[in-house]
Amino acid sequence: MKIKKDLSESRLAYRFILPSAIVMALITVYPLLYGVWMAFTNFSPRHIRNQNPEFVGLQNFIDILTQAPYLDFNFLSVLGFNFVWTFANLIFHVSLGVALALLINTPGLRGKRLYRALLILPWAVPTYVTALIWKNMFDTQFGAVNLLLKQWQQAIPFLPTNVDWLGQFPNAFYAVLLVNIWMGFPFMMMVASGALQSIPSDLYEAADMDGAGPWRKFWTVTVPMLKPAMVPAIMLGFIWTFNNFNVIYFVTQGNPFGKTEILVTQAYKLTDMGMYGQASAFALIIFFILLAFTLVNLRVTKATQEV
């Protein structure tokens, strides 16, 4: 009953959003549903023109999860790496972001605006540009990173030189991690410095009266007051990093041997191989993983709002 009443009351509003709703349905909803349908077929380039792929049921999902012989990746290890990648990034993003925000918020600091503008720069450059520049900087023979290491080695003799950054496993992970840390911390810094400015100063004064030192003030005043702003930002950062196609694809392409592959880049490679059905199934799996995470996220953010 209530729904019916709501509907009749807001009929005019629905008419206003109708045009954009139609556009959304055509360019977003339809392809999404089409992708879901593709996940259950043997869709390949041949079927783009002559539609009628065969229905294969859950075969694509089974093939992916049990690593059918024609797939050269193991789903669970890609998923595992994806989580390691996400958490490693978030730890650095948040700690670096908060630390820099605290530094910038030092009362009476000169040139605050300049520092802030410079530190935001990594965020302002299109990610694929940054990624490609970093890829070249990691070149073994001619890259800036190795050339720099060579120079520093004169002062610090135990530094490694001629490091094969992108061709060997842990190195390639450190390389992509470094790139993404560099690109990701400004966002956390912005959120944190915004939240820091809104902490009322009388809280610190009260803490001073109670004889709290700077360390104590940080943990009992700053951290709890930052939490409501940081938790949603961290959740958002989780999803962005989890699905961060640009850095992985442009810097390592998942090499060596697919060890730095994350789920989205692996799904993209399936599309490249013309296995559209399997790629859609893969995308659907990623969707469900992120859906589960988003539901948890909603719970958690609601909880922080109530505090």
Binding site: P45, R46, A68, P69, F142, P256
Partner: protein, 423 residues
């Protein structure tokens, strides 16, 4: 004050005639510009005819292509050739997807091994009865027969491609080695050569396959089944491993790495295709030499892939568009333009009339091609490249010994072939 100002304001439009005229001129110009902008969309379709072309060429090859297009447009006023450069490792997939979705260019510069996959996916037009007999007579028979798949002609040949040994005469006074044994003897002694590395070798499968076939290895059998696991393949991977472990060789599956070392005169030799000759000549000048690949052993030559760069036609472009594309292809593969591509871009012509001068470094590619093996057109070839590259990488980085790596590749290729057949 007041009257003066009023007088001034009413005088202005009448008095300064030139200002009025220029204002009118400005208004007319604005109207014309706006109308022209609006109406340019209504340009009748016939007045500028276009031919779209996708190609993988860069460097000296791109410059030669641009000159060719300029020459064609000068001969055909009103026709515009729109060329889009796509990186060579992306071109096949991009074209396959676009053409399958009823799009894509009129014309594609492609390679022999794409033909089977394209024919199967119906994204390449058959040229049976489309090319006049005199034009067909122009092409070398070897080249034409390589572009037939299941009895139909699918492309027009442009140039022959294979890999050979480039060397820097200044760094290698002893001259290039005849055999692999000779290569290692040179590597072990600094008497024969100068520089940091003797050989910079990009071991991607296309570039190293010469030693697979030279050692007796195979890829596919007649029925399109994987046949890569063989003693010859193990010998091939072992050779690559030995090269990698030798400090005088720079061995890596990376085109840019080998290319840069040779250009910067840090490596005395490299293995690359004829497309690089223009760029290498620019850097090394007369010091550049080209020789056939070192033989596997005496009298057993390396057998690299011989591919044919060819012009393919999109089945989605029909009627007048097809006619124009055919006309451009006719122009492009005629003797004057083939001479241009030979001299500017180092293309080994696939037509009978144009020959490479004996003293040209390109002659080595022609000789090498005689020992080569044609790049198979089978659709299964698309599944071969990645697993073979992976096998090379596994051996070079020591993840797997040669026998294990090639056995893995065999399994992966066969499974991929079967999966694709089921689609």
């Amino acid at each position: 004050m007041l009257t003066q100002r009023r007088r001034f304001s009413c005088l202005a439009p009448k008095g300064t005639g030139s200002a009025r005229a220029s204002a009118r001129l400005w208004r007319t110009a604005a109207a014309v510009t706006l109308l022209a902008t609006i109406l340019s969309g209504c340009n009748p379709a016939g007045s500028t005819k276009t031919i779209t072309l996708w190609h993988p060429w860069g460097g000296a090859e791109l410059a030669a292509l641009k000159d060719a297009i300029k020459a064609y447009q000068a001969d055909h006023p009103g026709t515009e050739v729109i060329a889009l450069q796509v990186p060579s490792d992306r071109l096949q997939d991009k074209y396959l997807r676009s053409a399958a979705a009823n799009g894509g260019p009129d014309l594609l510069i492609g390679a022999t091994d794409w033909i089977g996959k394209f024919a199967q996916s119906e994204v390449v037009a058959s040229l049976d009865d489309q090319i006049p007999e005199p034009q067909l007579q122009r092409y070398q028979n070897v080249a034409l027969s390589a572009l037939r798949y299941k009895g139909h002609l699918y492309a027009l040949p442009e140039s022959l491609e294979t890999v050979a040994l480039y060397y820097n005469k200044a760094l290698l006074p002893a001259g290039p080695p005849k055999t692999i044994d000779g290569l290692f003897i040179q590597a072990n002694s600094r008497d024969y050569w100068k520089g940091e590395y003797l050989l910079a070798y990009n071991t991607q499968f296309y570039f190293s396959a010469g030693y697979l076939f030279g050692s007796g290895g195979k890829l596919l059998d007649a029925g399109g089944q994987a046949q890569v696991d063989s003693p010859g393949a193990v010998r091939w991977l072992t050779l690559l491993k030995n090269m990698r472990e030798h400090p005088r060789f720079a061995v890596k599956s990376d085109y840019g790495y080998a290319d840069a070392l040779f250009r910067e005169k840090k490596a005395a030799m490299t293995i690359n295709g004829p497309w690089a000759i223009g760029d290498y000549q620019q850097v090394l000048g007369d010091d550049l030499g080209v020789a056939p690949l070192p033989m596997v052993e005496d009298m057993v030559p390396a057998v690299p892939f011989v591919g044919i760069k060819c012009l393919m036609f999109n089945p989605n472009s029909t009627g007048e568009r097809r006619e124009r594309a055919l006309d451009f292809a006719n122009f492009f593969t005629a003797a004057p333009n083939m001479t241009r591509m030979l001299t500017q871009a180092g293309h080994v012509p696939a037509i009978k009339g144009v020959t490479i001068p004996e003293d040209s470094p390109l002659a080595a590619f022609e000789r090498q091609a005689k020992w080569g093996t044609p790049l198979p057109p089978d659709p299964e070839m698309k599944e071969v490249w990645t697993p073979m590259d992976k096998a090379v990488e596994e051996v070079l980085t020591g993840v797997n010994p040669p026998a294990k790596a090639i056995a893995n590749a065999q399994k992966l290729i066969q499974a991929k072939i079967e999966a694709v057949r089921k689609q």
